[in-house]
């Protein structure tokens, strides 16, 4: 059991108004929350990093629950393809900054709370300054560099980091609170090399999945504020929505952890782009690329080229590439014999990211022929060569 007392100091707590008592009566009737807990919620300040798939349910439920100050941080604008899962935004919000769209919705839901908009990217330069004013951070970001940044900033400032992450049908949730248990680095000391794990924009995600995982995060935030219950500190919750299965794994503090262990070596925020291998000097040899128009010209000129579509069948069906040979990414090394080293081979996927990995995997496996990456993938082909194809 990991029972945590309320992290909100008593001296910040104020009485509820009669209007608030009416609004929150269903909470007040719960002995675990009651007047004390609701007053703590009112006094609490929670920062939600990212107002996307996870941030949407997080922000909506925390606003509804009466968390007195909600910070929403994002630098993006609402896109049409967000609306499949980011239920805090509406069709009319397309092209608006996400934080503005979210703030409108949250104010409409609960006009009594303060919404603080941070229309910016969280960076090593601003993270400590932004986070220091909050009691809890809920992490709904979509990339490794921000995850490590949020973790480190929270450890350095002594704040709990309520974590959720999703991919396709699978979610993870935990509470990283270095004072009481492990941090994100204790679980994952370093990120995967860039491109190894596909992002949701390439791998896809079930729309309701962030709804479920984000709601679990909101649940954990509320328990930290009101105190009591059994926190996810020291446990990693794994959820598979396709199998409809929850699993739970034990997480221990890593005594060797570079930021929260016995002998920490990280005492300030670092360069997270570099840490995640995203700086050019850390990137392995660039692969050769070919632009969509150049490929078209070579094909028109009758050049012999092997065009390899590394997408899975269901994805090829969205925007098929005529004349290509389909070999899914996961089978390339096994089927290396099917390539002709004397002919150039062009690899294509949706946006030209996974195909870079395909080329590296073949190089690693000892392939000697020339390998080219179709720059920006079939979406570029649809944009620059064949307008009859959809971009997705």
């Amino acid at each position: 059991m990991s029972v945590i007392e309320s992290i909100i100091p008593d001296e910040r707590v104020e009485k509820l108004s009669n209007a608030e008592i009416s609004r929150y009566s269903r909470h007040l009737l719960l002995p675990q929350i009651g007047l004390d807990g609701q007053e703590k919620l009112k006094a609490a300040k929670v920062l939600i990093v990212g107002t996307g798939g996870l941030g949407a349910p997080l922000a909506l439920y925390l606003a509804a629950a009466g968390v007195g100050t909600l910070g929403v941080l994002d630098f993006d604008v609402v896109e049409e393809s967000n609306l499949q899962r980011q239920i805090i935004h509406s069709t009319r919000d397309i092209d608006r900054p996400k934080v503005a769209s979210a703030a409108d919705r949250l104010k409409g839901l609960n006009p009594d709370i303060d919404i603080v908009m941070h229309n910016t990217m969280l960076t090593s330069a601003n993270a400590l300054d932004i986070i220091k004013d909050y009691d809890i951070v809920a992490d709904g970001t979509d990339n490794y560099q921000t995850r490590y940044l949020v973790n480190d900033a929270c450890v350095l400032l002594g704040k709990p980091n309520v974590y959720g992450s999703i991919f396709q049908f699978e979610g993870q949730a935990s509470v990283f609170y270095a004072k009481e248990g492990p941090c994100y680095r204790c679980l994952y000391p370093s990120p995967p090399p860039p491109g190894l794990v596909p992002s949701c924009s390439e791998g896809g995600v079930l729309g309701v999945l962030p709804g479920i995982v984000g709601t679990i995060q909101a649940n954990e935030v509320i328990k930290l504020i009101v105190g009591g219950g059994n926190s996810l500190i020291g446990r990693l919750l794994l959820f598979d929505s396709w199998e409809m299965k929850f699993r739970e794994l034990k997480l221990d503090k890593d005594e060797e952890c570079p930021i929260c262990g016995k002998h920490p070596t990280i005492h300030e925020l670092i360069d997270y782009e570099q840490f995640c291998g995203l700086k050019p000097d850390h990137e392995p040899e660039p692969v050769d690329t070919i632009e969509a128009k150049e490929l078209k010209a070579r094909l028109d000129a009758g050049d012999k080229i092997q065009i390899i579509d590394i997408r899975e069948p269901h994805e090829r069906a969205i925007s098929p590439f005529e004349g290509s040979k389909p070999i899914p990414l996961g089978q390339l090394v096994r089927r290396i014999e099917e390539f002709d080293e004397n002919e150039d081979a062009v690899f294509l996927c949706k946006i030209g990211q996974r195909s870079i990995f395909a080329i590296r995997a073949l190089q690693e496996a000892g392939y000697k022929g020339r390998l080219l990456n179709l720059k920006d993938g079939v979406n570029a082909w649809a944009r620059d060569v064949d307008n009859s194809l959809p971009q997705y």
């Binding site: 990212g50 996307g52 798939g53 996870l54 941030g55 993006d76 967000n82 899962r85 980011q86 992490d139 709904g140 970001t141 979509d142 990339n143 490794y144 995850r147 992450s165 999703i166 991919f167 396709q168 049908f169 699978e170 993870q172 679980l187 994952y188 000391p189 370093s190 990120p191 995967p192 190894l196 794990v197 596909p198 992002s199 949701c200 924009s201 791998g203 995600v205 962030p210 990693l236 794994l238 598979d240 199998e243 699993r247 739970e248 794994l249 034990k250 997480l251 221990d252 890593d254 899914p328 990414l329 996961g330 089978q331 390339l332 090394v333 096994r334 590296r360 995997a361 690693e364 496996a365």
Partner: protein, 92 residues
């Protein structure tokens, strides 16, 4: 044979299988057997020097192998070995 649970992020490399049976006396041997069966997995699981990549946690039951002696942790046929890689999505 131990049962190895494959997370969604790695299933593209195991022909979509969410679970693979593999033999071995230690967890290192079990994972190596899985990688032998599905060579496209190797790059994802191993660093160039042959150690397991640090973004992949391995659990036997609900215990991290770090607490059980690392890749030398013994495995019996009734064990479930689980790969738990870092996923980053929050979805912009």
């Amino acid at each position: 044979m131990a049962q190895v649970l494959i997370p969604t992020a790695l299933r593209a490399f195991t022909e979509g299988n969410s679970s693979v049976d593999a033999a071995g006396k230690t967890v290192g041997e079990v994972i190596a057997a899985v990688a032998e069966q599905y060579p496209d997995l190797k790059l994802h699981l191993y660093e160039e020097n042959g150690t397991i990549r640090r973004y992949v946690n391995i659990y036997i039951g609900d215990d991290n192998i770090r607490n059980l002696g690392g890749v030398d942790a013994p495995v019996v046929d009734t064990d479930t070995v689980m790969l738990v890689p870092a996923i980053a999505g929050g979805v912009r």
